[in-house]
């Protein structure tokens, strides 16, 4: 047995025989994988390999044609992102899902506002939200952006930090990220990676899509490789090299897999 270990003991999430077609196009074909608890797992593959489709199925945006998702040992095919969120699966969207004209605290509480008074009125408890946001984000972020500032006045990296820390702030267990640093500079990428490590330190499990292999090797504990809608294999990051992952992504890996 090499470092190829598709069986993960007590995984947080198991994907079993997922199939998804878009019309005649096969997006995912018999995909099965496991996400280890408390680790940062990378999901890599070329364009069209099915990474984003898989993430959308896990987060409840898409429903699979067949197959199932198991979360914490229980069958969990989510009909909507809201259902997945209730179970503790948060998604950091590529567009960050931030409302720019609202302050940081309002974005952190977006869709989960604290209210008081009669139920039909839902009067906002702005002071409570404003004063608790800093502590919520401080668990994952060393330099919390000013919580009263509108998101439009933050830098690109600070926005990303807010979006990611928000995902962790709500008692979630699994965080899905699709290209979290695609548009960022070096320093900002570093800040975002620090937040991802902060989430891991708090015991959260993270599944991250990235095209940047350097980054995948910097931050992940394990890597799943997809190609043309199928799973090629899993590698523990510490026991593989970028060359191997590249060959798995491009297809040269079929050789190395049979030989090992």
């Amino acid at each position: 047995m090499t470092n190829d270990s598709p069986i993960v003991h007590d995984p947080l999430l198991r994907v079993v025989a997922i199939k998804k077609n878009f019309g005649a196009v096969v997006a995912l074909e018999d995909v099965a994988l496991q996400i280890p608890r408390g680790e940062i797992t990378g999901l890599v593959g070329d364009n069209g390999a099915g990474k984003s489709t898989l993430i959308k199925i896990i987060s409840g945006v898409l429903t699979p044609d067949s197959g199932m998702i198991e979360f914490e040992g229980k069958a969990a095919n989510f009909a909507s992102p809201a259902e997945a969120r209730v179970q503790g699966i948060e998604t950091v969207y590529q567009d960050l899902a931030l409302v720019w004209n609202l302050p940081v605290w309002a974005n952190v509480y977006l869709g989960r506002e604290l209210t008081y008074g009669p139920k039909f009125m839902h009067i906002l408890d702005k002071p409570a939200m404003h004063s608790t946001t800093n502590n919520m984000l401080k668990r994952f972020v060393r330099a919390v952006p000013p919580v009263g500032e509108s998101v439009e006045f933050l830098s690109g990296g600070q926005r990303q930090v807010v979006a990611i820390a928000r995902a962790g702030a709500w008692g979630s267990k699994l965080i899905l990220m699709d290209e979290p640093t695609a548009a960022l500079g070096i320093a900002e990428t570093k800040a975002v990676e620090d937040v991802i490590f902060g989430l891991k330190q708090q015991g959260l499990t993270i599944l991250v899509i990235s095209h940047n292999l350097d980054q995948i090797f910097r931050i992940t504990d394990g890597i799943w490789v997809l190609r043309r809608g199928g799973v090629i294999g899993y590698r523990q990051t510490a026991r593989t090299r970028p060359e191997e992952i590249v060959s798995m992504i491009t297809g040269a890996a079929t050789l190395s897999r049979t030989s090992s």
């Binding site: 567009d95 899902a97 409302v99 609202l102 977006l110 839902h122 009067i123 906002l124």
Partner: protein
Amino acid sequence: MTAAGRWTPLFVLAGRHGVLIVFVLLVAVMFVSKSTFGTYQNLVNVLQQNSVIGIIACGMTFAIILGGFDLSVGSVTALASVVGATLMIDIGTFGIPAGILGAVVSCLIVGATNGWLIAYLGVNPFVATLGTMTVVRGLLYVATNASPRFGVPYSFTNVGLGYLLGVPIPAILFLLVALLLGFVLHRTRFGHYVYAVGGNALASAEMGIDAARVRFAVYVLVSACASVSGIILIGQTASATPQAALGYELTAIAAVIVGGASLGGGRGRMAGTIVGVFLLGVVANGLNLFGVSPFWQPVATGLILIAAVAFDGYSKRGGFASV
């Protein structure tokens, strides 16, 4: 400290409260230059004349912060006036409550139609409300043969022309609507969601906000405001007038924009709208007091609108140059 540095706080102040400052200066100038301006009768006139448009503008503030607008409000106001007054004229006893109820219900139907088209069918707000604006006005002309009907019970003119403690009843209604909707917009979760959906509808939906429901509710709310204005118009004219409130939609939108809201959505305040309404109202009143032809009034409104938007862009970018 440089000169620019010393003046920066003033620019910030002007940028944040520009309309209010202009309004206060305007009122001060009017007080000094025209003795008739400050009389009780004239101030009451200003309140009386701007309450109908003000109530519509309160509702329009929601639609504009949401990133849309509602062109049908003028027609809907006329609808309330025609339906309400006709019921009051034709039904003997209980004609007045029946008229009020009929006016509100008919307006809510139009509002729900707007909301359904925009929120659930994805029709552009301009197209949807232009459509209902035209259809409703056309139906009113068909139903009334384009001529007003008189005979509303005299007692009801109190709503349009009466006073309570020396304040015109329409102004009191305007104040109540403004306070209520200001509270809803700035203090409740619903108002918060209007800002969120107006700022970024996709992000709001991704975070679990039912953006379509918020949109639907806002367009119903705008029509509800128009129905209140229509009922006041019945009290002011004692008649069912199918030509009522022509062009009010554009005046209301102008007042909201002058008050600092942005057509791009996500920005605006209820207090700004109130100042916007009275800024346009005092200018109209001033032109009138100085004996300028009323035909100049739209010219003034348009110029103020352009100046307000240009200044807003100037203070945001720090210069007039395009970005």
